[in-house]
Symmetry: C2
Subunit: 342 residues, 2 copies
Amino acid sequence: MRQAVMYAPGDVRVEQRDRPAVARPTDAVIRVAAACVCGSDLWPYRGIDQIAEPRLMGHEYVGVVEEVGAEVRDIKPGQFVVGSFFTSDNTCEICQAGYQSRCPDLRPVVDESGGAQAEFLRVPWADGTLVATPGQPDADLIPSLLAASDVLGTGWFGAVAAEAGPGKTVAVVGDGAVGLLGVLAAKRLGAQRIIAMSRHADRQKLALEFGATDIVTERGDEGISKIKDLTDGYGAHSTIEAVGTQESMLQAIRSTRPGGHVGYVGVAHGVTLPGMELFLSGVHLHGGPAPVRRFLPELIDLILKREIDPGRVFDLTLPLDEAAEGYRAMDERRSIKTLLRP
Amino acid sequence: MRQAVMYAPGDVRVEQRDRPAVARPTDAVIRVAAACVCGSDLWPYRGIDQIAEPRLMGHEYVGVVEEVGAEVRDIKPGQFVVGSFFTSDNTCEICQAGYQSRCPDLRPVVDESGGAQAEFLRVPWADGTLVATPGQPDADLIPSLLAASDVLGTGWFGAVAAEAGPGKTVAVVGDGAVGLLGVLAAKRLGAQRIIAMSRHADRQKLALEFGATDIVTERGDEGISKIKDLTDGYGAHSTIEAVGTQESMLQAIRSTRPGGHVGYVGVAHGVTLPGMELFLSGVHLHGGPAPVRRFLPELIDLILKREIDPGRVFDLTLPLDEAAEGYRAMDERRSIKTLLRP
């Protein structure tokens, strides 16, 4: 089968690999219907994360179950499934509390057997990781279901962690797919005012369509001042951080009022938080790898009812064979998010 | 009047100063009935915080109102009052949300006009900062009411920030007065299991009397392992951090399960939190200077009903004139907390 592999920064190739098979009795193997390039895939692509050896790429996926292990009870061959990027048993105390992305039995989807930017994918803990749709979904819903696999689930978690809700003013730091879907989540959760921080016209437009009420183009101290100006000097009640740099984390914390909530979902790179500033900020800080599995049933339901349309973040669709161009387009900001069809 | 003043590390003197008067129309002046030495006073005493010029000491107090400004409506001369260490208007959005310690109109009680380790104290924003007891309290309740002014309010906030409650296992890092009263708060809030981390027999004893169910004497990685052993490998649901060092913050974060809550109330000294570790921890982090004013009405009520006895943290009582000995006793860990009688 074909699989996207990153050899070095800027060097992504699609090559032939063995098709994965069930290895543990709790595995499933799926035929990937759609996968995509993640903002976090750009960290190694840009040389910020090191690549020691060729890396199998892709951790966002939807597809049809081909085969399941002997201990898989709920997931069945032929079902259309959406999965999350970390696997989880979904039975332990951590999973039951809604933190499936920190399951002690966690195994990454991208492991020895493959990544999701491929024709087939082996998924550990199939019952605890995958959610089946009722019947085969309409083809036009596939991008939205794929978004649920990571970027929607992550933006949603950011909004939940930031306690976005009725009466709240929510600021969103980051205008990538996760930030934009954080806007959508905040809107859906009932936020009164949603301030998207973005300097790109195409992303501003989508943010407004997803429910943003204000756009702030400034960054850093100027951006923080703007947020304060829009909130009687207090700062936002809730801030979603969807970048993961030192600058974006401090921007998020400083844009939030004392007692407010920062939901941070950008993968931290080179971030160190100054203890005294955090202490005096009085904010709540919560985030990390999103427990997408917690939200999947609800998100799939909203998508199938066509109440949300998160698939709009995909502004470029390419065949899997052109994965390299998908990475380039996102790296050069020509594409918000690129969908790959095996 | 007499006032404790710190001139340099290890150098505390009680000297004559002018008695403070109402300076702003929202001020009150109180005759201090009892004050005390705070764990945070030991930072400059030990030379960890710098002292540029002689510092008026004391920010914990109870007393009787002598005089009020023209705009003070609720607080009246003759009332017995308990106040918090930061002042607050208690009318703005931040105060109304329960974060009076971050009021934009905040003024420290220790300012140009004096500190609480004195005979008299000027309190800005009297209506928003002070809470009067119904009538004069019994003399034996004064230590507990004084504790409410800071250490109980701070330990309580730590427990609330850590979301201690029914069914929860709560770990407490730090066995000073705040940590011990964090134990009391967790018990009162209904926690199922309370693990006090302490290496001192007298403090362990008080922790057990306040409601601790387990004592862990180990620190650092060994202490974290013990907490994990006691919680099926998952970590505590809630951890109260009541020290403020890099070691204690990391011990608190690492002792907490993913999705759990760390309430940190130790004043941060030299703390920098590693972003990636925090991201992967999946914990909620909340803390800062405790909004004592939020909790005062409830805490005063519990004390007057004799349902809690937080004054037991005071194991040494001295006349104000012997303040220097009070500092020495706490510095040398001969006293958990020292009460000063003007």
